[in-house]
């Protein structure tokens, strides 16, 4: 297959810099999305400290360019699964902020009827098939969706998101092997944010270039600058094309960083990483990178950017108001949706 020596060498280069070719409208749209993902999570954090959101809550702050760039390359009928860190993925996929926030609040109007919560966002109409809470558990699921697409003879693509720590779990390896063996139209998005909870990648992983793992399965792979929407989209388009036209899988290692703690119960820094480290990575904030590009291209100015951000803030406030007003699910809901019939 095409995972030849030449392309392996190409793959093992430093993260590729893409030459952006995008219209002003696209850029505004992506900047809008980046802001939406950021502001939504900031508000979710607020709501969490007010006790409106319970349980585990993992924010996407810092990783927004990955979700936005990947979703920008997909079709409406493609399949998506993610981990518990999936609020931003759902938003970028177009799941309405209202129904996501209502789900975080556990309300009846939430996208999973209040039964899933932060870690289990589902929107079947958009083929957004879950946040999943067991590390690596969604990787075989996404592989199965790719299997189904191929079985049905459609040209749908299935995308599985997971963290770098999930690349050490068996389901990752079993899935990649089967996807390569059976030539499935799957794209694996490894979001390498440097940490699995408090464990730095170097303390858990023998080989730091995680995308190389695909080569054991004769699968194409790339390392990508995950802070830059253009780089993400560029690599993703190659992977999607490979899946759609040749029915071959790809592993993309998105090099990114989370600016906040692992979950709401974890401080941004202090124990396992320093404030300086976080500050250093903040210099490559995906919102700042996109804003700088747009200004440089003369697409907008500071006022224009602020106008987008203000628009987003209104949208997020609206989502919170909606979630506040949505009722709890009725008590009878406890016993429904266990089985197809009879509850």
């Amino acid at each position: 297959m095409s995972g030849s020596t030449a392309s392996k060498k190409k793959g093992s280069k430093r993260p590729a810099k893409a030459t952006p070719a995008a219209t002003e409208e696209q850029c505004r749209n992506w900047y809008h999305q980046l802001c939406l993902l950021r502001r939504f999570e900031e508000k979710a954090a607020e709501a969490y400290s007010l006790g409106k959101i319970g349980g585990f809550c993992h924010l996407y702050i810092g990783q927004e360019a990955v979700g936005v760039g990947v979703m920008a390359s997909l079709r409406e009928d493609d399949y998506i699964v993610g981990s518990y860190r999936e609020h931003g993925l759902a938003l970028a996929r177009g799941v309405p902020p209202r129904s996501i926030m209502a789900e975080l609040y556990g309300k009846a109007d939430g996208c999973s009827g209040g039964k899933g919560g932060s870690m289990h966002l589902f929107d079947a109409d958009r083929n957004f098939l879950g946040g999943h809470g067991i590390v690596g558990g969604q990787i075989p699921l996404g592989t199965g969706m790719a299997f189904a697409a191929k079985y049905h003879g459609t040209d749908q693509v299935s995308v599985s998101f997971f963290g770098e720590a999930a690349a050490n779990i068996g389901s990752f390896h079993e899935s990649l092997n089967m996807a390569a063996l059976w030539k499935l139209p799957a794209v694996y998005i490894l979001e390498n944010n440097g940490y699995g909870m408090g464990t730095a990648i170097a303390r858990a992983t023998a080989s730091m270039d995680l995308f190389h793992r695909a080569y054991s399965y004769d699968m194409e792979a790339e390392a990508v600058d995950g802070q830059d929407v253009f780089a993400v989209k560029d690599a993703m388009e190659r992977a999607v094309e490979r899946a759609r036209t040749k029915s071959e899988p790809t592993l993309l290692e998105m090099r990114t960083y989370r600016y906040v703690g692992h979950s709401m119960s974890d401080a941004a820094h202090g124990t396992y990483r320093t404030k300086d480290e976080v500050e250093e990575y903040r210099k490559r904030d995906p919102l700042v990178i996109m804003a700088a590009f747009m200004k440089k291209q003369g697409m907008t100015d500071d006022d224009g950017l602020k106008a987008i951000d203000d628009e987003v803030k209104t949208e997020v406030q609206d989502a919170m108001d909606y979630a506040d007003q949505s009722p709890d699910p009725p008590l009878e809901a406890l016993y429904t949706d266990v089985y197809a019939e009879g509850g």
């Binding site: 699964v81 899935s175 092997n177 197809a340």
Partner: protein, 326 residues
Amino acid sequence: MLTLTYRDALNEALREEMQRDDRVFLMGEEVAEYDGAYKVSRGLLKEFGPKRVVDTPIAELGFTGLGVGAAMVGLRPVIEVMTWNFALLAIDQIVNSAAKMRYMSGGQVGVPMVIRGPNGSALQLAAQHSQAFEAWYAHIPGLKVVMPATPADAKGLLKSAIRDDDPVVFMEGEMLYNLKGEVPEGDITVPIGAADVKRTGSDVTIVCHSKTVAQALKAADRLAEENISAEVVDLRTIRPMDTDTIFTSVSKTNRCVVAEEGWPFAGVGAQVVDYIQRNIFDELDAPVIRVTGADVPMPYNKRLEKEARVDPAKIVAAAKRVLYLE
């Protein structure tokens, strides 16, 4: 009626359901070119081709999870586990993905799949290959657990399981594959969730499933020689359990023995006893007694293994105890 082995009855069910619905595919280790580790899938590769009869790597977690994902988007996978001992590697996907998907998606995404294979001990396979896991899966809301004891039930229940819209754990008896029995011809299904009275009687009820059904029937023969009339209730489905049939029988006999191959602690029998004492306590003339496998890992030695197993003699003894005859 046709006379078929349990193995061939399962094979017929697979073949007919694959003919009927092209969303159904079979996947597992050795299911295709090898014709199945226990030959349940014999001939299916030839008839349906490698797209629908898929040999997998030895990756239980991966291919079971792949099945769940495929089921989430419209296929109807039948995932064969070579034995349920190995499904421990897949239990995360069965419990955390398959069983939970409908609920945690608020009813949006179901998982219509069957996970099937042999359960329980065979002969001298020792500790890691001689385990009965039904109580584990029956514990999980969102799963159905089906365990046929006869060729007719094997065929009819597997057809129902494949048509079911929820994940079904379908446990075959490793020692039952060669069992012969009459099987109705044609497209006959057996409903999930319905127990079956395999022998009627009036003095004592023996509740059993899978391998213990034949043992209970033997025990009933021996009891009959002593003028004791035993009724044999085959659960057929562990979850959802058909309590009506149990209650009707025990209300008639007023005495009950529960026999299962698995271990005693928190076993299926414990659940049966709980249902009986909570619902028809006043019908009982004696405490319900359970007959189970010994509470140890299975030994290799033949004599010790025999001692660890349920057998008709142990069921007879238990029946006499609930009748206060021993």
